[in-house]
C-alpha cells in the first residue's frame, strides 16, 4: 500500500488530528507521503515526504482547487490509498477525490481487518466490513479510532501550487457564541442526578466535566429543583444528546432521561444502586457514592 495522507490545517494552525493519519499509516506499516494545504511555519513533525500547498495562495477552504492539488500529489506519490480524517474537511473533500480517481471511498473507518475495512453502522449498533473493488481507494478515518503517532522528525517538503479558481467563495470563520450551551453537540457530558444530594455538590460535577474537557448537564429532578439551569437538562423533555462519553452521576435513570442519553457512544454511570435502570444502558457502572467518587476522579485527571 502506498498512502497519501491528507493533513489538516485551520485558522493558521496545523491540526493535531494529522498525527492520527500518521498513526494509521504506521499501524499498517504502510509507505506514505503527506499532503496538506498549510504553511512552512507549521509543518507536521514526521520523517516523510510532504506535498505542501501554500495556504496564502490556495486558501483554507476551496474544495475544487484542493481536490486538484490532492490529485496532483497522489499522482506524484504514486499513491493507491488516499487517507483523510472523517471530519468536516475530510468528508467534504474525500468524495471529490474518489470520483476523480474512479476510486471507491470507505467512510469512517474504525479498524482495518484482514479482508477489508471495519465501519460503524446504525449509530454504532452494528458494524460493517467492506472492501474496495477499485484499483485506488479513498479512506476517511473516524476521529480517535487510530492512536495518534508521536511527533518527531522533519518532512521533506515539495511545494505544489495552482492558480485555478474554485467555484465557491470562502467568507471567513465564526466562533460559537460564548455562554451558549448546546449539549446536543458536546462530545463529553457529565450529568448530575439526585444522587449528588444537594445544590452545592453540583460544583463537583462541573469540576469533573471541566477535567474531562466536556460540558455538564443534569437530570430532570435536579433541574426541577433549580440546582442547574434548564438548558442543561438531558432527557426527552430537555435535550437529547449523543456524546462520545456520557457520565451519569447519581442518576438512577428515569425513562425520559434514558431516552435522552442512551445514544451516547460510551456511558459511565456512578450510582450506589446496582439495580438502577441506568445499568441497562451503561457500559460501566461504578457502584459508589458520587460525592466521594467525583472529586477523586477529578483530582486524578488533573493530577
Amino acid at each position: 500500500m502506498k498512502a497519501l495522507l491528507v493533513g489538516e490545517y485551520r485558522e493558521g494552525k496545523l491540526l493535531e488530528s494529522t498525527y492520527e493519519l500518521i498513526g494509521f499509516a504506521k499501524q499498517l506499516n504502510a509507505e506514505f507521503d503527506l499532503f496538506m494545504v498549510g504553511s512552512k511555519d507549521q509543518l507536521p513533525q514526521v520523517d516523510a515526504k510532504l506535498y505542501l500547498a501554500d495556504v496564502t495562495t490556495v486558501g483554507e477552504y476551496n474544495p475544487s482547487l484542493h481536490k486538484q492539488l490532492i490529485l496532483e500529489a497522489a499522482d506524484k506519490a504514486g499513491a493507491d490509498t488516499i487517507v483523510f480524517l472523517h471530519s468536516s474537511s475530510g468528508w467534504d473533500l474525500a468524495p471529490r477525490v474518489a470520483l476523480a480517481l474512479n476510486a471507491a471511498q470507505v467512510s469512517e473507518v474504525v479498524e482495518v481487518t484482514a479482508d477489508g475495512y471495519l465501519l460503524p453502522a446504525c449509530n454504532a449498533k452494528l458494524r460493517r466490513t467492506v472492501k474496495s473493488a477499485t484499483a485506488k481507494t479513498v479512506v476517511t478515518l473516524q476521529g480517535g479510532a487510530f492512536m495518534a503517532a508521536d511527533p518527531g522528525g522533519a518532512p521533506q517538503v515539495e511545494e505544489l501550487s495552482s492558480s485555478a479558481d474554485g467555484n465557491t467563495e470562502f467568507g471567513g470563520y465564526e466562533q460559537a457564541e460564548a455562554g451558549e450551551v448546546d449539549l446536543g453537540k458536546a462530545e463529553i457530558i457529565v450529568s448530575a442526578g439526585r444522587g449528588v444530594g444537594k445544590p452545592e455538590n453540583v460544583e463537583m460535577i462541573q469540576a469533573l466535566a471541566k477535567a474531562l474537557g466536556g460540558e455538564y448537564g443534569a437530570s430532570r429532578p435536579v433541574v426541577d429543583a433549580g440546582w442547574v439551569p434548564h438548558d442543561r437538562q438531558v432527557g426527552t423533555t430537555g435535550q437529547v444528546v449523543s456524546p462520545k462519553l456520557y457520565v451519569a452521576c447519581g442518576i438512577s435513570g428515569a425513562i425520559q432521561h434514558l431516552a435522552g442519553m442512551k445514544k451516547s457512544e460510551f456511558i459511565l454511570a456512578i450510582n450506589t444502586d446496582k439495580d438502577a435502570p441506568i445499568n441497562e444502558v451503561a457500559d460501566v457502572l461504578v457502584v459508589a457514592d458520587i460525592k466521594q467518587f467525583a472529586p477523586a476522579l477529578t483530582a486524578k485527571l488533573e493530577g
Partner: protein, 659 residues
C-alpha cells in the same frame, strides 16, 4: 275574626290593568333581550343535546330545585342554596296571591288564602323573606368585606345584590305599613313576625299617612320587580334562566368522552376551533350560563401551581368574544400558554354548578393548533409525536421490544398466535419504562395467582393515542386507534383489561366511535372482582400509606372504592389526603402533558408530592403509570425522597399474593 288579609289592600283592584300591562311589557323586554342572545348561541356548530329528556329534566330537578351541586361547597354554596329556596317560596307565595286574587276569586269566588292555611302561608313567606335577606347580606359581606381571593367583581354583582336586597326590604316595609294599618294588635299579626317588626315605625302614624306611604312603597317595589325582569338578559341575573337551561343541555356522558372528528370530510376547511364560531352552540351557551363562582379556578391544578389557566376565565373569554367579536381569533385571545396548561383532569367540570364543559373547548382549540398549524407546546412534544408515528410509542422505543417485560411470565403473546379470552392492554409506560414494567409484571402475577390467563398484543400493540388526542392531535390518535382496533379484533378476545387509567378510559369510551365494542375494565375493578369471588387470595400485611386518586380513574370513571377495597384486603391503612377522591389534585401528566416540559409556574408533581407527605404516610400509592412516573420525579424534586416512596397499587398487591 277571619284569618286572611285583603289582597290589593289600599292600592285597590284598579291597579290590575296597568300592573299587568307593565308586567307584560317587562316580560317583553326580557324575552327580547334573551332572543338577542339566542342569535349569538346560533353562531355555534350543531350538537345534539335534546335526547333523553327525562334524564335531562331529572338533572334540572336535582341540581336546580334541590341545588345539589351548589350545596357541595359550604359557605357561599349554602348561602346561595338557602337564598334560592327562600326565593322559590316567595315566588310560590306571590303566585298563590295571583291565582286567588286575579283568577279564582273574580271568576269563581274561590278564596283559599284563609284560615289555618293563611296562617301557614303567612309565616312561611315571612320567614322565607327573612332567610333570603340574611343570606343576601351574608353574600354581600363575603363579596365586599371578606373578599375571597381572585373572585371576579363587576358592577353586575353590586346591581344584583342591591336590587334583590331592595326588593326584599321594600316588600317587608310594604307589609309593615299594611300591618300597621290593619293587623296591629291582632293575633293574626304574630303569624308575620318580621312584618310586625317592620310595622313598628309606622305604628304611630295616621291611617292616611300609612296608606300614602304604602301606595308609594307598593309602586316602588313593583317597579323594582319590573326592573328585575328586564335586567335578567342584560346582567348576570340571566343565570336564573340560563344555568338551569344549561343543566338541561348538559353532557350526559360517557364522562370525558371527546367528540370524534371526521378527518376524511372533504368539505371541512378547518379542523378544531380557532374562532367561537368553530365551537358548538353549547360551548357558547356555556359562557353565558357561567355564574363566575370560581369553583373551577379554586380547584384547577394548573391555576394552583401558578400557570396562566383559569377554567373560569377561559369560559368568560369565550363569552366575551362570542358577543363582542365572534370572528376574532379565540386562540390569540386566550393564548396558547393557557391552552397547553390544561391537564384535562376534569376538576373544573366535576364541580361546576352550571354544568359547563371546559375541557372539550380546550381540546378543540388545541386541535386547531395542531391540525391546522402543526404547533405543539414545545419541540419535545413534536419529537414525541414523530416518535409515535414511527415507533408507535411516544418514548421512541423499538416496537419489537414492547413485550420484553413479559419474558418468563405466564402471558399469551397474541402477536405470536397464542390465544386468550382476555386482553391485557399494557400501554407504553408499563411496556417500556423499567420502573413501570413492574406494574405490568405485578398485574400478570396477580392474574396468574387467580388462575386467569390473559393475553397481550405484544409488538403489535401501539400507544392508545390518549396523550396525542388530548394534545389535539386527532389525526395521529385516529391512526393509532384504528390500528389497535384492527389488531384487537383480529385476536378474537372477549374482554379488555388495562392497568393504565389513560388507556382504559380511551379504549372504553373513545374507541367506541371507531368501532371497538368490547367491554373494557380497569385492573382495579377486575382484581376487586377476582378478590370478591375468592379466586384471588391476598395475605394481609400492614402498610401505612396514602392513596392518590388518578384523575382518569376517579373523576372520569368513579373508581374510588375498588382501589381502597383492595388496599384494605392487602392490610393497608390509608391516610387520606385532604384532596382525595373527587377533590384529587392532578399529578401533572394528564392531557398529554406527560410528553411536555412544565415550564410555567410551580411543578404540579411536587405540589402533589408535598400533599402526600403531609399525611405522614411513608408510601404514596396510585393506580396509574403516569402518576407513578410523575411522583418518582416530583418526590425527588421536592426533596421528599427520604420520607416518601411512590408505589403502584398492583405492586402492593403482588407482594401479598397468598402463597
Amino acid at each position: 275574626m277571619e284569618l286572611t288579609r285583603e289582597l290589593y289592600w289600599n292600592v285597590g283592584h284598579a291597579v290590575l290593568m296597568p300592573m299587568y300591562l307593565l308586567v307584560i311589557a317587562s316580560f317583553g323586554v326580557m324575552i327580547w333581550g334573551l332572543r338577542k342572545r339566542l342569535t349569538t348561541y346560533r353562531l355555534g356548530q350543531p350538537l345534539e343535546r335534546c335526547d333523553q329528556r327525562g334524564e335531562r329534566l331529572l338533572g334540572v330537578l336535582r341540581d336546580v330545585f334541590l341545588q345539589a351541586r351548589v350545596l357541595r361547597v359550604k359557605g357561599a354554596g349554602t348561602a346561595h342554596g338557602l337564598f334560592f329556596f327562600s326565593f322559590v317560596l316567595l315566588t310560590i307565595g306571590t303566585t298563590l296571591v295571583f291565582i286567588q286574587a286575579d283568577l279564582l276569586d273574580p271568576l269563581f269566588g274561590i278564596r283559599f288564602l284563609t284560615g289555618n292555611f293563611y296562617l301557614f302561608f303567612s309565616i312561611v313567606l315571612d320567614l322565607a323573606g327573612l332567610v333570603a335577606l340574611i343570606m343576601l347580606l351574608g353574600l354581600a359581606v363575603r363579596r365586599y368585606l371578606l373578599r375571597p381571593k381572585d373572585l371576579p367583581n363587576t358592577s353586575d354583582n353590586a346591581l344584583m345584590l342591591v336590587l334583590l336586597l331592595t326588593i326584599l326590604l321594600t316588600g317587608f316595609l310594604l307589609e309593615g305599613a299594611r300591618m300597621a294599618a290593619t293587623e296591629m294588635g291582632t293575633d293574626l299579626s304574630w303569624w308575620s313576625p318580621v312584618g310586625l317588626l317592620f310595622a313598628q315605625p309606622f305604628a304611630g302614624m295616621t291611617e292616611a299617612g300609612q296608606r300614602a306611604i304604602h301606595t308609594g312603597l307598593w309602586w316602588f317595589h313593583f317597579a323594582l320587580v319590573l326592573g328585575f325582569f328586564c335586567a335578567i338578559p342584560f346582567t348576570r341575573l340571566r343565570h336564573l334562566l340560563l344555568t338551569p337551561t344549561n343543566i338541561f343541555f348538559r353532557d350526559l356522558g360517557p364522562v370525558g368522552k371527546l367528540r370524534t372528528l371526521d378527518l376524511e370530510d372533504e368539505e371541512a376547511e378547518s379542523f378544531g376551533a380557532a374562532k367561537v364560531t368553530d365551537l358548538t352552540w353549547k360551548d357558547i351557551f356555556d359562557g353565558d350560563a357561567c355564574t363566575y363562582c370560581k369553583r373551577c379556578q379554586d380547584r384547577c391544578p394548573a391555576w394552583n401551581t401558578d400557570k396562566p389557566l383559569s377554567p373560569m376565565k377561559l369560559v368568560n373569554q369565550i363569552n366575551e368574544v362570542s358577543f363582542a367579536d365572534p370572528e376574532t381569533s379565540l386562540i390569540e385571545t386566550i393564548t396558547t400558554d393557557v391552552l397547553w396548561s390544561c391537564t384535562t383532569c376534569r376538576a373544573c367540570e366535576e364541580i361546576c354548578p352550571a354544568a359547563i364543559e371546559h375541557v372539550p373547548k380546550i381540546i378543540d382549540m388545541r386541535r386547531n393548533l395542531v391540525l391546522m398549524e402543526g404547533e405543539f407546546p414545545g419541540e419535545e412534544v413534536t419529537k414525541a409525536m414523530e416518535g409515535t408515528e414511527i415507533n408507535g410509542n411516544p418514548l421512541g422505543m423499538a416496537p419489537a421490544a414492547r413485550a420484553d417485560w413479559a419474558e418468563g411470565l405466564d402471558v399469551a403473546d397474541l402477536s405470536k398466535g397464542e390465544k386468550a379470552e382476555i386482553l391485557y392492554f399494557v400501554g407504553c409506560y408499563a411496556s417500556f419504562d423499567r420502573r413501570n414494567q413492574k406494574i405490568a409484571q405485578s398485574f400478570i402475577k396477580l392474574c396468574s395467582a387467580a388462575g386467569v390467563k390473559v393475553g397481550i398484543l405484544g409488538k403489535d400493540e401501539k400507544c392508545c393515542g390518549e396523550p396525542m388526542r388530548k394534545l389535539g392531535n386527532e389525526y395521529l390518535y385516529q391512526m393509532l386507534a384504528t390500528e389497535n382496533i384492527e389488531q384487537i379484533k383480529a385476536t378474537g378476545v372477549q374482554k379488555i383489561v388495562s392497568a393504565c387509567p389513560h388507556c382504559f378510559n380511551t379504549l372504553a369510551k373513545d374507541y367506541v366511535d371507531l368501532g371497538l365494542e368490547l367491554p373494557v375494565e380497569h385492573a382495579n375493578s377486575f382484581l376487586a372482582e377476582l378478590l370478591n369471588s375468592g379466586k384471588l387470595k391476598l395475605e394481609s400485611a400492614g402498610l401505612d400509606c396514602t392513596y392518590h386518586d388518578s384523575c382518569y380513574l376517579g373523576r372520569h370513571n368513579d373508581l374510588y372504592d375498588a382501589p381502597r377495597q383492595l388496599l384494605k384486603a392487602a392490610g393497608a391503612s390509608v391516610r387520606e389526603m385532604e384532596k382525595s377522591r373527587e377533590e384529587s389534585f392532578c399529578c401533572s401528566a394528564g392531557g398529554g402533558r406527560i410528553l411536555a416540559e412544565e415550564n410555567l409556574g410551580e411543578r404540579m408533581n411536587q405540589t402533589r408530592a408535598r400533599m402526600a407527605a403531609e399525611t405522614g404516610a411513608p408510601t404514596l400509592i396510585s393506580s396509574c403509570p403516569f402518576c407513578i412516573s410523575m411522583f418518582e420525579d416530583g418526590i425527588k424534586g421536592a426533596n421528599l425522597d427520604e420520607q416518601l416512596k411512590p408505589l403502584d397499587l398492583l405492586e402492593i398487591l403482588a407482594e401479598r399474593i397468598e402463597a
